[in-house]
C-alpha cells in the first residue's frame, strides 16, 4: 500500500495487506476487492488511492466476494476471447474485516467459495466492528467488552463464544485454508499468502488483526500483542491443504492465556478476583481448540 493511507497507528491491517501483496509475483497483476470497513474507507478516499500496484474495487459491505467473483469470471471470458494478453496473469484477492466476512458477508463468501472461483479471500479479523466504534461481531472473543456487549453489572462482555469461520471454510472443501497472524518476521503470513494466491481455486486466509482502539493497547504494542496471541495458542497458526491439517507454529512454551488477555483493556473486567472463572473458561476453550488441532494434524497426516 502507498504511504499516506489513513489507518490508525498500531493497526494490524496495513502490515497484513502489505505482506499479502508482497506474495504477489512482480510480473502478475491483481484485482483487489475490499468490503466496506476501516481498510476501505482509509485507503481509497477520492481522489486518492493507496492501491497503486493493483487494481482496486469497492462496492458494499457484504458482497466483496460476489463482486470479486464477477471480476474473476469477466477475466476468464475476456481472456478466452483474446481480449487480454494471454501471457499475463491476473490474481483476485478480497480483503474483509470480520464483520464483512463472518457476519454480513458470510452468505456472499460461502457462495463464492462453493462456486469455486479462483480467488483468495483474506479476513483481517480484529474481532469487532471497529469502523463504527467497536460493536460486537460473531468473531468477538468470549467475554470481550465491546460497545454492544459491554461489561456491565448483569452481563460480562460478550456472552457467546467466537464463530470459527476457518473451520467453516474447511468444510467448503477448499484446496487451501489458513490461519495466521503478524508473528515474528512475518514469514508465516507471507508463506500462507503466497500459497493461497497461487493455489488454483478458492482459498481463505484468516489473519488476526489487532486494533489498538477496539482492544485497548498502546499502538507501539502491535507486535507484542500479536505474538502473545500465538504463544498462548489463543490464535493458533495452522493451515489445511487439501484437507491435511498442519500447525505451522508450535510455541516452545505454551503461555497461559491471561498473558494475552492482560495486554488489552477489553478484557480488563476479567481480572477482578470474582471473575477469574471467565479466564478459566477462556483457557479451557483455547486448550480444546489446540488439542483439536493437534488431533486433526495427526489424524490427517497420512491421508
Amino acid at each position: 500500500m502507498q504511504v499516506g493511507h489513513r489507518m490508525c497507528a498500531g493497526c494490524g491491517a496495513p502490515p497484513i495487506v502489505n505482506q499479502v501483496l508482497r506474495a504477489l509475483k512482480d510480473e502478475d497483476n491483481a484485482v483487489v476487492s475490499c468490503a466496506t470497513g476501516c481498510l476501505e474507507v482509509s485507503t481509497c478516499i477520492y481522489p486518492y488511492t493507496s492501491w497503486r500496484n493493483v487494481s482496486f474495487v469497492h462496492t458494499a459491505f457484504e458482497c466483496t466476494s460476489a463482486t470479486l467473483s464477477g471480476a474473476e469470471r469477466a477475466y476468464i471470458a475476456l481472456k478466452r476471447q483474446g481480449k487480454l494478453n494471454k501471457d499475463k496473469t491476473t490474481k483476485f484477492i478480497a480483503f474483509g474485516g470480520d464483520g464483512g466476512t463472518l457476519d454480513i458477508g458470510l452468505q456472499s463468501l460461502s457462495g463464492a467459495m462453493e462456486r469455486g472461483h479462483d480467488i483468495t479471500y483474506v479476513c483481517y479479523d480484529n474481532g469487532a466492528y471497529m469502523n463504527t466504534g467497536t460493536q460486537r461481531s460473531s468473531s468477538t472473543p468470549h467475554f470481550a467488552d465491546t460497545t454492544t456487549s459491554p461489561a456491565g453489572k448483569v452481563t460480562n462482555g460478550k456472552m457467546q463464544k467466537r464463530k470459527d469461520l476457518t473451520e467453516i471454510m474447511v468444510r467448503h472443501n477448499l484446496p487451501y485454508v489458513a490461519q495466521t497472524a503478524l508473528y515474528g518476521n512475518l514469514k508465516d503470513l507471507y508463506e500462507k499468502a503466497e500459497k493461497a494466491i497461487y493455489t488454483n481455486g478458492p482459498t481463505y486466509v484468516s489473519v488476526l488483526s489487532p486494533c489498538p482502539r477496539g482492544w485497548g493497547y498502546p499502538s507501539d504494542d502491535l507486535a507484542i500483542v500479536s505474538k502473545l496471541a500465538v504463544d498462548t495458542c489463543f490464535w493458533p497458526l495452522y493451515e489445511i491443504e487439501n484437507g491435511v491439517y498442519k500447525i505451522t507454529v508450535k510455541p516452545a512454551k505454551k503461555l497461559p492465556v491471561e498473558e494475552f488477555l492482560k495486554t488489552q483493556h477489553r478484557f480488563k473486567h476479567l481480572f477482578k478476583p470474582e471473575n477469574k472463572w471467565m479466564i478459566d473458561e477462556i483457557q479451557k476453550e483455547v486448550d480444546e481448540k489446540w488439542n483439536y488441532l493437534l488431533m486433526m494434524e495427526e489424524k490427517t497426516a497420512n491421508s
Binding site: 484485482v31 477520492y46 492501491w51 482496486f56 474495487v57 462496492t59 467473483s69 471480476a71 469477466a74 456472499s108
Partner: protein
C-alpha cells in the same frame, strides 16, 4: 433478414441475450423471470454463447457479481423480478453510481407482503430512483427489441438499463415475433470498449472510493446529468434500430392521441388492452387516446406534457401504489411534469391490477367514461380511484 417466430416474452428476451452474447451473466432464479435464466443456462451448457454464467446464491450477489464483472471490463446482463429486485436495491445504486453499463431484465411482479407472484409494477417502481434507465415494454416484440437496444444505450450513456415487461402476461404468453439474425444483433451492439476497467493491463485503477461531501455532491450531479443526457441517446439508438428493423421506438408511444379529448397514460401490456378499447370508442365517436411511456427513466418531463395539453380530461394509470396517502408513482411524476410545463388538464389517478388482478376492456371503458364525466364536472371529482375492484373499506373481505 428477419426471422418469424412464436416465443414467450422470457424466451424472446433470452434469445436477445443469446444474440448479444454478453461476457458475463450472473443471476438468481425468481418467478416470473426464472425462464430467462433457464434458457440462458442452456445456451451456456450447449456452447451457443461464450458467456461466463455465474449461478449466484442470491440476487444481492447477482447484482454484486454483475458490478464486479462490469467494472472488470465485461459486457454484463442479468434478469430478476419482485423480491429479487428488492434484494438488489442497495447494489442498484452502486451499479449506477459507478456508472456501469450493465443491463438488467425485470419481469415485473408484485412485492410482498402479502406474497403474490403475479404482475404489477411495484418492483421496478420501487427502485425508480436507483439511477437505472428504465424501459417499459408492451409486448414480447418490444421486450426483445428493448433488450437489444438496452446494451447500446447503456454503453453510450454509461448508466445501467432495466428492461421491464409484465410478468406472466408478457413473460409467459406466446406471441408472434420477428427476430434479427445473430450477426445483425452482433453488428448492432458492436464491441464493448470500456474506457476504464479493472483488467486494463496498461494501468491500475481504483473503483468505488469514499467521497467526502463536495465530491459526493459533484458525483451525484454527474449521475443526474447523465440520466438527462440519456434521452437523446435513447432516441438515436432507437432510430438506428428502426433502420435495421423498421420498428420505430421513441421515448413514448402515442395512440390516437393527437386529436383525442380523453387520454390515458399507461405502461406495458395494459396499453394493448387500452388500444382495443380506443378503437371501439372511436367507432362510437368518442375521441379517446393514449400515451404509453417507454422511458420512465429518464422521464420525458418536457415532451409528455406537451402531448397531453389539449385533452379535456386525463387518467394516469398506476400498476403500483406509493402508499403515500395520495397516489401512484406515475401520477406523481407525470402531473409534476405537467405543472412544470404549465399544462393544466383535469387529471385523475387509477390504481389498477395490483397482484395481477385482471384488467378487462370494460375496466378501461369505465376509465374513459369517467373521464367524460370529469371533463363536465368543473373540478368536482375524486383524484384517486381503484379500478375494477369493489373495496368496501377497512373490514372488507377479511
Amino acid at each position: 433478414m428477419s426471422i418469424r417466430e412464436r416465443l414467450s416474452g422470457n424466451e424472446a428476451v433470452a434469445t436477445a441475450m443469446k444474440q448479444i452474447n454478453p461476457d458475463v451473466v450472473a443471476a438468481y432464479p425468481i418467478t416470473p423471470s426464472t425462464e430467462v435464466v433457464q434458457y440462458f443456462s442452456n445456451f451456456v451448457a450447449n456452447g451457443t454463447v461464450d458467456t461466463e454464467f455465474i449461478p449466484v446464491e442470491s440476487e444481492h450477489s447477482a447484482m454484486s457479481a454483475c458490478i464486479g464483472a462490469s467494472s472488470a471490463g465485461g459486457r454484463v446482463m442479468s434478469a430478476t423480478s419482485s423480491q429479487g429486485l428488492a434484494l438488489m436495491f442497495e447494489m442498484l445504486y452502486i451499479a449506477s453510481g459507478l456508472r456501469l453499463p450493465l443491463v438488467l431484465i425485470c419481469a415485473n411482479r408484485a412485492l410482498s407482503a402479502p406474497l403474490n407472484i403475479h404482475n404489477d409494477h411495484s418492483d421496478s417502481m420501487g427502485v425508480r430512483d436507483a439511477g437505472f434507465i428504465q424501459l417499459y415494454c408492451e409486448s414480447n416484440q418490444e421486450a426483445y427489441d428493448n433488450a437489444i437496444m438496452a446494451v447500446k444505450i447503456a454503453e453510450q450513456a454509461n448508466l445501467p438499463v432495466m428492461v421491464c415487461y409484465d410478468g406472466f402476461i408478457t413473460s409467459h404468453s406466446i406471441e408472434n415475433i420477428e427476430l434479427l439474425e445473430n450477426e445483425e444483433v452482433q453488428k448492432f451492439v458492436g464491441k464493448h470498449e470500456p474506457h476504464e476497467y479493472l483488467l486494463d493491463e496498461s494501468r491500475n485503477i481504483s473503483i468505488g472510493p469514499l467521497d467526502l461531501q463536495k465530491d459526493y455532491f459533484t458525483h451525484r450531479i454527474k449521475i443526474a446529468e447523465a440520466m438527462k443526457a440519456a434521452k437523446p441517446i435513447i432516441k438515436k439508438v432507437s432510430e438506428e434500430y428502426a433502420k435495421l428493423t423498421g420498428r420505430k421506438y421513441d421515448l413514448y408511444e402515442k395512440y390516437m392521441l393527437d386529436d383525442a379529448e380523453y387520454g390515458i397514460v399507461v405502461l406495458n401490456s395494459t396499453a394493448g388492452t387500452a388500444k382495443d378499447v380506443i378503437d371501439e370508442l372511436r367507432k362510437q365517436g368518442i375521441k379517446a387516446g393514449l400515451l404509453k411511456p417507454r422511458a420512465f427513466r429518464p422521464l420525458p418531463y418536457e415532451e409528455i406534457p406537451n402531448e397531453l395539453k389539449h385533452l379535456k380530461a386525463l387518467a394516469i394509470m398506476d400498476k403500483s401504489d406509493s402508499i403515500n396517502g395520495f397516489c401512484g408513482p406515475l401520477f406523481s411524476e407525470i402531473t409534476a411534469s405537467m405543472y412544470s410545463q404549465n399544462v393544466h388538464v383535469p387529471t385523475v389517478n387509477y390504481i389498477y391490477g395490483l397482484g395481477g388482478y385482471d384488467v378487462k376492456a370494460d375496466d378501461i371503458k369505465e376509465v374513459y367514461s369517467n373521464l367524460q364525466e370529469i371533463a363536465q364536472s368543473k373540478g368536482n371529482y375524486e383524484i384517486k380511484h381503484y379500478l375494477g375492484i369493489n373495496y368496501g373499506g377497512e373490514n372488507d373481505g377479511i
